[in-house]
C-alpha cells in the first residue's frame, strides 16, 4: 500500500485547516438583504419603491390613529377634543363611536339585559365545534355538538324549550325509521322512510306535542323576535348556519352529480347550475318576496330563517362543485378497490372516497365558506340590520352623522378575525393530513 501511495499521490496535506467564518458580505443580515432585496438593479428599484409606498401609507394612517379620540358622545365632541389637544385640521380618528355603540354593532337591537344569551350561544358554538375541528379532543363531546343547534336556538330566540326538543325528536324518528325499515325492506325504502317519517312528524305531530308540553311545563327563556337580531350576532348566525348546513347538502349534491341514476343526476346538475348562475342578492330578494307565496297562507315564516335557507342553498351549490373536483381527482382504482371488497355505495363513499376527496377539497371548501361569511353583509339590502346596516343606522343619528371610516375599520376587523381564523385552520388541517398519510 505505502509503495503505491508514494508513487501516485502528488500532494499530501500535513496540516489541517481550522474552520473559519464566511466573509462579512456572505453571512447574516447583510447576506439576506443582499440576496433578497438588492440582488439586481430592478430588484433594488422595486425594493426602494415598495419602501416608499409603505412609508406613504403609514405616514397617512399613523397620525389618524395616534391622535384618535376614544371617549366622546358625538362626532362634534370628538372634533372639539381634537382641536383642544392636537389642534384643528390634524387628522384624527374618532373611535368614540365604537366605545359608544359597540354593543349595538355586536348585538343589534337584542334586549340589553339579555346580551348574555348570544354570548353563551357563541360559547356553546365554540365548544360544539371544537371536537369537530380537532380530532384529539374526547369523542364524547360530539354528543354536545349534536345537541348544540337546539341549545343555541333556545338561547338566541328563547321561547318554550319544547319546540326545539320536538324538532330534535323528529331526527330521532327519522333514524328509527331508517333502522326499522332497513331490517324489513331495502336500502332505498329505508332512506325514503327516514326522510318522509320526520317530515310527517314535524308537520302534524310536532306542533301539538310541543304545545301540550308547554301547557304542562312552561320552561324557557323569554322569546326574542328575529326583528331584534342584528349586528355581528346576525352575521355569525347566518354565516355559521349556512356553513354548517351547506356542507352536507353540498356533499350530497356532488355525489348526486356523479351518480349514474338519471333523475338524481339531472336534478343535481340543474339545481347546482341554476343556484350558481344567479347572484346571491337576487336569491335574497327572492327569499324576502317570493318564498312567502309558496308557503301555505297564514304561515308566518321568519325572514332570518328564509335568508339562512337561501344562503345555505347558494353556498351548497359552490361546495358541491368544489367537492366534485375532489371526487374527480381520485384515481378510479380507489372506487374499484372499495367495490372489490364488497363495500356498498354509502360505505365506500363514507370510508374511502369522501375522506380523500374532502382532503383534496379543503382549500376550496374553506375559500367558499369565507366567501359565504362575508356575503352575509348583503342582507342589508333586504332590510336586515347586519353590521353594515347598523352603521347606516348609527350614522342616521344626529350624534354620529358623517362618520364612516371608524365604523368600517371596526366591522372589517371583526370579519377579518373570523375569516383569518378559518384560513389558518384550513392550513393547519392540510399540514396535519399531509403529515398523517404521507
Amino acid at each position: 500500500m505505502s509503495d503505491t501511495n508514494a508513487q501516485s499521490v502528488g500532494f499530501v496535506r500535513d496540516k489541517m485547516l481550522p474552520e473559519s467564518a464566511p466573509p462579512t458580505l456572505e453571512r447574516g443580515v447583510v447576506k439576506w438583504i443582499r440576496e433578497n432585496l438588492f440582488s439586481s438593479v430592478l430588484n433594488s428599484v422595486l425594493t426602494l419603491g415598495s419602501i416608499y409606498v409603505i412609508y406613504w401609507i403609514v405616514a397617512h394612517l399613523y397620525p389618524w390613529l395616534a391622535n384618535s379620540v376614544w371617549s366622546a358622545s358625538s362626532l362634534n365632541e370628538c372634533r372639539e377634543i381634537r382641536d383642544a389637544t392636537v389642534g384643528p385640521g390634524v387628522p384624527s380618528a374618532c373611535f368614540a363611536v365604537i366605545t359608544d355603540r359597540w354593543e349595538q354593532l355586536l348585538f343589534g337591537f337584542y334586549p340589553n339585559d339579555a346580551y348574555w344569551r348570544p354570548v353563551m350561544a357563541l360559547v356553546a358554538f365554540l365548544v360544539a365545534i371544537a371536537p369537530v375541528l380537532f380530532v384529539s379532543l374526547p369523542r364524547k363531546l360530539l354528543w354536545f355538538s349534536a345537541a348544540s343547534p337546539f341549545v343555541m336556538f333556545s338561547l338566541l330566540w328563547g321561547g318554550s324549550i319544547w319546540g326545539p326538543i320536538t324538532v330534535a325528536v323528529g331526527f330521532g324518528v327519522g333514524y328509527a325509521a331508517f333502522v326499522l325499515l332497513g331490517r324489513v325492506a331495502g336500502a332505498l325504502v329505508s332512506v325514503l322512510g327516514s326522510i318522509i317519517a320526520p317530515v310527517l312528524f314535524w308537520m302534524f305531530l310536532a306542533g301539538p306535542i310541543a304545545g301540550a308540553l308547554t301547557a304542562v311545563a312552561p320552561i324557557g327563556l323569554p322569546f326574542v323576535e328575529s326583528r331584534s337580531f342584528g349586528g355581528f350576532t346576525l352575521s355569525v348566525i347566518i354565516g355559521v348556519s349556512g356553513i354548517v348546513l351547506s356542507m352536507p347538502l353540498g356533499i350530497l349534491l356532488a355525489l348526486g352529480r356523479q351518480s349514474d341514476l338519471f333523475i338524481i343526476n339531472k336534478v343535481s346538475v340543474a339545481f347546482i347550475e341554476v343556484i350558481r348562475g344567479v347572484p346571491l342578492i337576487v336569491w335574497l330578494f327572492t327569499a324576502q318576496l317570493i318564498l312567502g307565496y309558496f308557503l301555505p297562507p297564514g304561515t308566518t315564516f321568519d325572514l332570518t330563517l328564509r335568508v339562512i335557507i337561501m344562503v345555505t342553498l347558494f353556498s351548497s351549490a359552490y361546495i358541491a362543485e368544489v367537492v366534485r373536483g375532489g371526487l374527480a381527482a381520485l384515481p378510479k382504482g380507489q372506487y374499484e378497490g372499495a367495490d372489490s371488497l364488497g363495500l356498498d355505495y354509502w360505505q365506500s363513499m363514507r370510508l374511502i372516497i369522501l375522506p380523500q376527496a374532502l382532503k383534496i377539497s379543503i382549500p376550496g371548501i374553506v375559500n367558499t365558506f369565507i366567501g359565504l361569511f362575508k356575503d352575509t353583509t348583503l342582507v342589508v339590502f333586504i332590510g336586515l340590520f347586519d353590521p353594515i346596516g347598523l352603521s347606516n343606522a348609527i350614522r342616521a343619528s344626529t350624534d354620529w352623522n358623517g362618520i364612516y371610516w371608524e365604523l368600517f375599520v371596526f366591522i372589517g376587523l371583526l370579519f377579518f378575525i373570523f375569516c383569518y381564523s378559518m384560513g389558518r385552520y384550513s392550513l393547519f388541517l392540510e399540514r396535519k393530513l399531509q403529515r398523517e398519510n404521507r
Binding site: 382504482g333 380507489q334 378497490g337 372489490s340 371488497l341
Partner: protein, 263 residues
Amino acid sequence: MSELAIDRDIDRSHMTVSDEVAIQIDQMNKWFGTFHVLRDINLTVYRGERIVICGPSGSGKSTLIRCINRLEEHQAGTIMVDGTELSSDLKNIDKIRSEVGMCFQHFNLFPHLTILENCTLAPIWVRKTPKKEAEETAMHFLEKVKIPEQANKYPGQLSGGQQQRVAIARSLCMKPRIMLFDEPTSALDPEMIKEVLDTMIELAEEGMTMLCVTHEMGFAQAVANRVIFMDQGQIVEQNEPKEFFNNPQSDRTKLFLSQILGH
C-alpha cells in the same frame, strides 16, 4: 420474461382440484360501446384450480376477470359464482364481491388508512366482525405475507412489492373462496416481482382457487393447472401448462409464446 423464474420446490400436497364448480361462465359477451371486447366466453372453474390467463394486450383478459366480480358489466350470457348468478341485483353483487378477493395491477390500497386499517376495513363493515377479532385476523395474514412490522404505516411509506403483498393480505382478510389477480406484478421492479410471486405460490399451495392474469410464465409453469390463452376477446386455446408451453396448437399461441419466451 424468463422461462422459469421459480427456483423453489412447490408443495403440491394441498393442490387438489375438486369437481365442485366455483365459477361457471356461459356464452358471455361484453361490449364497450360498440366494441365487442369479449365474445362467447365459456369457462368452468372448479374449486382448487389455479388458472393463468395470458394473451396480448387488448385481448380482453383483464376484462374477463373483472366481469367475475362485476367491476365490468356483461351484456349477454351468464356468470355464476359459487352458485349465485351475477345480475344487476346489488345484494348479489355485494355478496359475491365479499367472497371473491381481487388484487390489482396498481394495488389500490387506501392511502388515507394504515396498513392494518386497510386490512380490517372490509371485515368490520361488510362482515360485521368485532374490531379486535378483525385486527387479529389482519395481523395473521400480514405475518403470512411477511410484513407484520409495517402494520401501522401508511401505504405510501411501503415499496411496491410490499404494497402488493398488503393488497393480497387485505383480500385474504375477507376469507375469500376465490382470488382474482389482475396483472399483480406488472407495475413492479424485477426484484419485487419475486416476493409477490412467492406469496401467490404459498396461496396456491394452500389450495386457493385462483385466476391470474399475468405475464409470468414461470409462475404459470410452476403453479397453474390450466393456462388459458386469449386473443381478440376469445379463448383461443387452453391446456395444462406442460402441453401449453411445449406443444401449442394454434398459430396465434405459437406466435405469442415465441414473442414472450423468445429472448
